[in-house]
Amino acid sequence: MIYHYIYVTILIILSVMLFACLIRAVRGPRVADRIVAVNMMGTMVMVIIAVLALMLNEGYLVDVCLIYAMISFLAVVILSKVYIGVYEERLHKTQDPDDNEDQDKGGLSDGSC
């Protein structure tokens, strides 16, 4: 019974922190601020899912948590790459509009390593 109270307390604290983090994601002045806040929300949701897995005694929720970690990491990497590509494409369009034909296809590939 005491474990149940511990789990509920942790869930309440993490939910309040999740909403505070959502405020940062809405207010953030730059794109990177929003991605950092969303990444942090993903981390907190992972802890919430892991606590629920032990609280409800359902082992498969930990698998959901593992997949969530992988998808969250993938989302951060892909969003960053897409924003770098969009920015560089826009930069090429504003700087030299003469040779615009070359940059139309390879806009996103500029941001790769």
């Binding site: 005491i2 474990y3 511990i6 942790i10 604290i13 993490l14 922190m17 505070a20 983090c21 940062r24 953030g28 730059r30 794109v31 990177a32 601020d33 991605i35 950092v36 806040a37 990444n39 942090m40 981390t43 907190m44 992972m46 802890v47 892991a50 606590v51 897995a53 032990l54 082992g59 930990v62 698998d63 948590c65 593992l66 970690a69 992988m70 990491f73 951060v76 990497v77 960053s80 790459k81 924003y83 770098i84 920015y87 560089e88 941001g111």
Partner: protein, 137 residues
Amino acid sequence: MGAVEWIRLIAGCAFLAGGIFIFFTELFGLFRFHYVLNRMHAAAMGDTLGIGACLFGLIIFSGFNFTSLKLLLIIIFLWFASPVSSHVLSRLEISTNENLESHCAVYTDLKALEEESDTADMSDSGLQPSEEKGGAV
């Protein structure tokens, strides 16, 4: 409950409270700092240490079974994933910010940084931002 149960409860609660404290510190830093590279420093702490402490407390609660093994796998995955995502995010910030010099010092080559830090040790002056930007992208 026996003595072992009490020890398990107290140790798990200590790890969970530590993890929650790290998360709170992360959130505080996210609102306190004024630039995204500083915020990233605070936010990267929770990805490894905060969730590591929380999930280790849950491992202690769960005991020795497959659930705790999967929780350990999540901790190890995040150890590898968090530095990579931080690196990619800082690359995004550096390559899309046009006035980066107003927030932090930008060095185009490392030799200038080494010389400047050598002289800064002797003359005790702060680091000055260089003229050009974009070399470290």
